[in-house]
Amino acid sequence: MPYKNNFTAQTQLKLSPFFERTSKLNESQEWRRWAGYLAATSYELTHENEYFAIRTKAGLLDITPLKKYIVEGPESEKLLNQLVTRNIAICKVGQVMYTPWCDEDGKVIDDGTIQRLSKDKFRITSAEPNLEWIQSNAIGMDVNVKDDSFSTAALALQGPNSRAILNSISTNNLDKLRFFWMMETTFGNIPVSISRTGYTGDLGYEIWINPNDALKVWDLLMDKGKSFGITPTGLHALDIARIEAGLILLDVDYISSRHALIESRKSSPYELGLGWAVKMNKNDFIGKSSLQKELNHASNWSFVGVEIEWLEFEKHYREVGLAPGLPQTAWRTSTPLYYKNEQIGYATSGTWSPLLKRYIALAHLKSTYAQKGSKLMFELKVEHFRKLTKATVVKTPFYNPERKRSCPK
């Protein structure tokens, strides 16, 4: 069983500062491209254990490929408040806000988190490059926008044991760190910045460090985390967790309005289920007037959770003499949704939830069909033939444990 195969390889892709460790741990040698980086798909031969680490122990993910920008200067709050749909003026030092940002037509460009590092300093994370967009909107303002992507390394530690692991290493205790807040602390003499954020919908943290400290921090976490079940975790497991959490993914669930070739590919925050993050009562921000119009007329599209009903799903497979063919990993192929004979939307990602024992998907639906409880038909391929099978619109997040937001008493 333990094969001691070593190999070296060449790559044209960028390597994360954690690669020296992750490349040795990746037993499947399955990698994916993520923003030009080599990122582990799964460390073990199957991703199951990594998924359960996120939900029952702690998964450790290298999230260095995220884009990171530092916005600094007296007018940084003003700039960001114009740029994004959330109200940055009320974001306190040490607080983090998740927000989308839009173009003038109110169509989403990207989404990410904004950390307020000090009164006049913020860190923005995003999926795609946004430097030019931020800078062009900062013209004439007293701010400095810097691409920090390569000068900050980042890890996500996600799962119910993540707090205990960090407490065993961190100089400062994390018990009082609330959901979407952050703190500066040290691991021994290494300065680290920890935000209680993540992409799993579970208790979890993201750790922001100097790349020079990357290996030391990785080793500390793996060593202290061992007795808490820390598990290096790849993108296969993360993808299942983020769908369960109802979290969207750029280029999978929506397309950036800056890259959409045709108008119909663009989505407003309302059409992505992000209406809660649009603050109409704040001063002017990019896209506000268009979004106001959309608000007055109601959006054409909605973004919803869908559950594929088990009994009929199973029946389709029984009819051909097979056990139900559940997807082994999360899928990302656009899949039609029907009401009677009319296509009224499409699912953009879906997965079998190993924990919830439900087949779930995220979908764009014409708003008239998007009410909770609406019955739809989901297109399914069974032994090469297309079938329609029953599905229901359900609320997201599909999985939302109390520990995600709670603090120890």
Partner: protein, 526 residues
């Protein structure tokens, strides 16, 4: 807790099947009371902190057979059901090992190291058994029809079953017939040649049964273990986070969500029968509770010979229940460990400790272990199915420490001279000595050891003779014969008295199935 004088249904026993039946009845609006004798719920599916900081799945330790519709209908994931994958099975040998993992190519290569023929057949065996499992499932999911003076619904169920049997392919029919009649050793000999592989696979044919791998009928028990699926994958084992008690607690929370009252430390003494009808229960503490119906989740011996006066039952039925085979064959040893066991054949704390560890090097090992039991002794070198729950779920033990669960066979209930404290310790020693042949450090890392003999399983968990399945899974007491002909549909000779434990169709294991089907039968004619 609300105090109601009259319930629609009282369920005796808060094991997982009793709770399942309660949840289904509650879900249909019935007012239900569950009475559990112990201070904890779950029956044999229970987690207890036997030694401070160490949680043991005291009896039942893995989950595979839990029905997916029960999980769905009772919303168990919402109430705490969390099944972690148990990925591998390792058979340690004196100078080698055999390990089967979740990766089929890896498993192929590993078996091929011992036998190329077996490796290829193994790739076909799983799917073939999966298809058989699928073919048998509808039979298991049917309320067993009464073949004696059948009612209309019995006839229609029988016809459905016959139609189903006719729909089987000839291969399926052949395998099914063989599995129903052969010994697991004979059946596996048709497929494989490598002894440790065959012996380990045959072991699921003896679990909970007073038979050896060469005893005819053991192949069916193996099939019973193949019936489980997790997420559509047949023959997948799972470990409940926090131990198997978590499954029972999830069902209990679901039941409470549906308005069921659950009381612990309430020991039922008798079912109150008036004019041939059950009308309530009398407790050891003198309390009485009335209800329209009473359902026993206990095993058939307790259900009929203990809860009811023999005089209330037809004599032929009494003798059928007396003849119901419920021989205990296994014990359980739970260990609190200071460190992980280090197997000489595969040292270190690698991936192999994350799955099952099977002490089953050969048919002879198993058969000799059975020989000891046949003549009234526990096995000197027993078969064991071991897992290390703390490797899968670190919360089971303090950081860096571990718990080890050893299912041990054989330990006969009727042991020469009877079970006593000395015998229990001797049995524990035999177990540890056997493990130490493969993991020599075991003796140095034990912080606490809990040894459960069949007599302990009986006295603590109410399992007659310590039989984990509420009666052996042998052909003569399955389906329409479980527990007795004419009374396999969850009814009993006493009106308004029903049964829903593992001693009813389709039998033992954490399935929820008897509880579910009993409730559905009862609701169908309420």
């Amino acid at each position: 807790m609300s105090k109601i004088n009259k319930y629609d249904a009282i369920i005796i026993g808060g094991g997982h099947n009793g709770l399942t039946a309660a949840a289904y009845l509650g879900r249909s609006g019935k007012k239900v009371l569950v009475l559990e004798r112990r201070h904890v719920l779950g029956g044999a599916a229970v987690t207890e902190e036997v030694y401070p900081g160490f949680k043991f799945s005291v009896c039942s330790y893995v989950v595979s057979l839990m029905k997916s519709n029960v999980m769905r209908e009772l919303m168990l994931p919402k109430f705490g059901l969390e099944l972690l994958p148990l990925e591998s099975t390792m058979t340690p040998l004196e100078n080698d090992y055999l390990i089967r993992t979740a990766d089929s190519d890896q498993t192929y290569r590993e078996i091929a190291r011992h036998s190329k023929k077996d490796a290829e057949n193994y790739m076909r065996f799983g799917p073939a058994m999966g298809q058989i499992g699928m073919a048998v499932r509808p039979i298991l999911e049917t309320i067993a029809p009464n073949p004696i003076r059948p009612s209309l619904s019995d006839l229609s169920a029988t016809k459905k079953l016959l139609d189903h049997v006719k729909s089987l392919t000839s291969k399926q029919f052949e395998y099914l017939t063989k599995l129903m009649t052969m010994s697991s050793a004979d059946f596996l000999d048709e497929w494989f040649e490598y002894e440790p592989l065959k012996a380990t696979m045959s072991a699921s044919g003896i679990i909970g049964t007073f038979m050896g791998p060469r005893s005819p009928g053991s192949a069916y028990v193996m099939l019973h273990h193949y019936m489980g699926d997790i997420d559509g994958a047949y023959r997948a084992w799972g470990f409940q986070r926090g131990g198997t008690g978590g499954v029972s607690m999830a069902i209990a929370r679901s039941a409470e969500h549906f308005g069921v009252d659950i009381m612990t430390e309430m020991s039922v003494q008798k079912v109150i029968v008036k004019n041939g009808r059950a009308i309530g229960v009398a407790l050891d503490n003198g309390d009485e509770y009335n209800s329209s119906i009473v359902i026993s989740a206990l095993d058939p011996k307790l259900t009929f010979l203990n809860m009811i006066d023999e005089s209330e039952l037809p004599p032929d039925f009494v003798s059928a229940i007396k003849n119901f085979r419920i021989r205990g064959s296994s014990g359980k040893v739970n260990l609190a460990l200071d460190a992980l066991p280090d197997f000489s054949c595969l040292p270190g704390d690698g991936r192999h400790l994350r799955g099952a560890i099977s002490i089953s090097p050969s048919y002879d090992h198993l058969e000799k272990a059975y020989d000891d039991a046949k003549y009234g002794n526990f096995s000197e070198a027993p078969f064991m199915d071991i897992i290390l729950p703390s490797v899968l779920d670190p919360d089971m033990a303090p950081p860096g420490k571990h718990v080890m669960s050893c299912f041990v066979q054989y330990a006969p209930y009727h042991i020469n001279g009877g079970w006593n404290d000395q015998k229990r310790e001797d049995f524990g020693d035999a177990v540890i000595n056997t493990i130490s042949r493969y993991a020599p450090n075991i003796k140095d890392i034990i912080l606490h050891r809990q040894v459960l003999t069949p007599a302990d399983l009986e006295s603590t968990f109410g399992l007659t003779e310590g039989n984990i399945f509420h009666g052996e899974l042998t052909l003569q007491q399955l389906f329409s014969l479980r527990p007795a002909v004419k009374w396999a549909d969850y009814t009993t000779p006493i009106k308004n008295y029903f049964q829903c434990g593992s001693g009813t169709h389709p039998g033992g294991g954490i399935t929820g199935s008897p509880g579910e089907m009993a409730a559905k039968k009862i609701l169908g004619s309420w």
